[in-house]
Symmetry: D2
Subunit: 283 residues, 4 copies
């Protein structure tokens, strides 16, 4: 029985690039974190130490900065495509994956208007894109991370099975709090899609549905929200969620002679539930 | 020569409390992290292990939850005062310090209106308050943390001394990026101040001044901004800043035959400058 | 075209359990972080909100604490198996995955001996195990995380291709620093293996090979180390590595009139290379 | 009433320097994080934007790398003194403070010996030093951070006052777990002290005393340990501790029909107690 190389991938992570777009009347900040990974004919690099096919990760970093100069002019999906296609030009590369996170900066509000050259970071979420390019075609995914949301009504969890180790009571009115990670895949053949507009529409559907639906569990919320997004956005094939259930436990105030009718909660992050699920178009 | 107890303080940190205020037409979320520290006659607890004067930190935690029930109805400055005064009632406590950070949640936008019971966390900054209560009176401080801001124009750094180890070039146009920690102290005798309104005014002055001033250094920016805040807000005695200088280095694109006229920057966090300074009223 | 549920999984993460084993002459600390995830017939829970098959994640947490009482007596692989098998008893569960990280505590050294009941945390690495149980059988994986290692000799990187964006010079003597994440899978039919002893042997092979081999790249190091581990340990089928390349750049001291012959380095974490690869037994 | 500059300080933080000492038979790694802060005549820099006295923080960074070349040959206390004295040479500097954290790397064990050029990071604690230099003299402090320790016996907490908000029960046998931050000041006139040896002795006294004493509270433990260190080490004037009380709560297994006689604990980090105290020599 021999020993051999299995699946492998390599690249550069946490490349931090900021581009200042100097328009006539104002500046625009593009602030990205980029990660690149290549798959392909790299077995020799491992087994014999032959680096002749190994594009240095330092070169990848340089490429991000260089291509940002003229190529970062639109969506992160477009810039990711530019980068992935660039690396795919190398014969030994079979698949190039480019992840990009964009950190939003808004012009500072000043006396009812906005500053042309001072900005405040919007830490409420991070927008992401992943482009995977191969000879057989490219896949574009978009997503959101670090989006903390909470429902203080219309959230229940009841009717779950009870065994020897079950102590949780049924509830028809609990807090549901989570920090959303979601990723959706655009169907192939949607290359002329306006990815900025699509992102905005997905976020609006997420927000409206999250707010309005009656949640019977985090699982069911994912279905309701995911279904609403796919119904609203024909260009999307599939959406995946990873939602921690960040428990808010009712504080026990009875030892102090106080009632606590869903008013005072202990906010926790450890342990937490974690619900991962995909909603997709069927055949 | 003897050995003795010196300065000491103890308490509870990272108490996480969420209060859901259930108004007739909508909910409001109050989401706080509280820290309590007591100073006083605790030498015996250390030296002899006599705990008869040691208010358990577990009791402090319970007190936060219990007092939040009826006492968390207004500003965090008011709730901090309530807590600090409560602990000062214990004879052995000479000084009670209560730090509070409030995490902002905004109603979700839904079709031009807002949801009554779904919320999104605003991660753009954290508002803080510190109340220190002693027999001689109380001090109230307010502040802001985790507020990331950037100037892409009107920022220079030149004319600094050059020695054997100086390689930095003078620049009349650099990026200035920082994550603001600021704390200001309200003058005694301003107990009827509306701390929410004052916070809003300080933030607005900060924002406007940050955007409009021409910065010659982070140091000078602190002076200009701090002075503007003290001039606008008579109730404030003193303001302290701790500003990291989060360097954005111009990427060297010349090896690639590309010009880079202040367009593409490498964003860094390590190492960083750190400027700490106080602006205050004189005699 | 319909919309349907795709792959999904749910469970509890960051369950923190500490067990104090009270031996006659000394204590032993077991300090674990556990994560549980279940896959199976949960589509209804999503689509209709029927929770009748949804084992509450709170019940999972309780189960960890309850089973630790009598069941955490040996390796984390054995405890993971106990937990995974427990959840597999539920008819709706098709696959149960249990990840465990063990945090090591060593008895405190005291005057040449060791304390029976005082301990210091060994922060040099975290040992992990993952048990995946299904009707078709179980898979046991073991691993290590957060193990920082460095080679200050016998590390080169040269002969890589040069394109327009390549500026990195060839080097035959560089620092190689990484924080190891490695995971290896035990072959089925090795259920009577002593997983503690096997872990120790893998770590010793890793250490010796890391120290002694001449590295031509991180990729080639993975091959050499992975091959050595598979050769030494017949019970292991496959090993996967994820190794960041934590660059140490030679500080440029020439502006100060100083030579720097591989002596003074700038340690960085951002950006970093990231090499992921699998070494396995072939047919 | 005028507005004026108050206390201020500036410098460079998180300067990461690694020095490889190439001895004939083996290498030694010095891995430091350095922070520098200067106080002095910098009011003009703030008020008028005159940078003629502002040593650039970039120059500070360069100085760390340059002086490490020939000056980092002994203890971090000596290197901190070298750096602080260097900055004090500038006329406008009244006080220079240099903090250094040293990250320990041990030679890799290989077949009963150790490697000359492969190393593993010891993550069990970080050693620190702070040198403060002024015209009036220098102060040298040393310390330790990130040292996690636990007592599973000889730890009680009882006899504390009970009020309306007290629910914690007295206990004569609890777990005490903490992550130690300690800083001690060497007396002036101890400049010929071997700081490496002194650090080793302090750590050994800490360890032995932590293990052997009967703790009546975290407060009393600080006193017992601090006193032991000052008694053993005449060169130390004062020692300060900041000890979180990382609660380990007995898991309630009674709903599952199981006893839990101090065996299974829920490990928590939030909220936590925090005890800060100084033990010092008296008059």
């Amino acid at each position: 029985m021999t020993i051999e190389m299995g699946w492998n991938r390599y690249g550069k992570a946490r490349v931090r690039v900021v581009k200042i777009v100097r328009l006539p009347d104002r500046h625009v900040i593009r602030d990205l974190t980029v990660r690149i990974a290549l798959e392909g004919d790299f077995a020799d690099a491992h087994v014999t130490g032959d680096n002749s096919q190994v594009i240095a990760t330092d070169t990848m970093k340089n490429t991000v900065y260089a291509l940002a100069k003229d190529g970062l002019t639109g969506t992160i999906e477009a810039f990711g495509t530019l980068l992935a296609d660039h690396f795919l030009l190398h014969r030994q590369v079979e698949r190039a994956t480019v992840w990009i996170a964009e950190h939003a900066w808004h012009p500072m509000p000043v006396d009812g208007s906005t500053s042309p050259d001072a900005f405040v970071r919007d830490g409420s979420m991070t927008r992401t894109a992943t482009v995977t390019a191969a000879a057989s075609g490219a896949t574009i995914e978009a997503g959101v991370e670090e989006l903390s949301v909470m429902k203080t009504a219309k959230s229940a969890f009841a009717g779950f099975p009870r065994d020897r180790y079950t102590t949780l009571a049924d509830t028809d009115d609990r807090i549901m709090a989570t920090k959303v990670t979601a990723t959706w895949r655009y169907a192939s053949g949607t290359t002329d899609l306006d990815h900025d507009a699509a992102f905005g529409r997905v976020l609006a559907t997420f927000t409206r549905t999250f707010a309005e639906h009656v949640s019977l569990s985090v699982q069911q919320s994912i279905w309701v929200i995911g279904k609403a997004i796919l119904e609203a956005e024909p260009a999307i094939d599939e959406i995946r969620f990873a939602l921690p259930n960040l428990h808010h436990w009712l504080a026990d105030l009875s030892p102090f002679g106080l009632e606590n009718d869903r008013e005072i909660f202990v906010s926790t992050t450890e342990p937490h539930g974690l619900i991962e699920a995909t909603v997709r178009r069927g055949e």
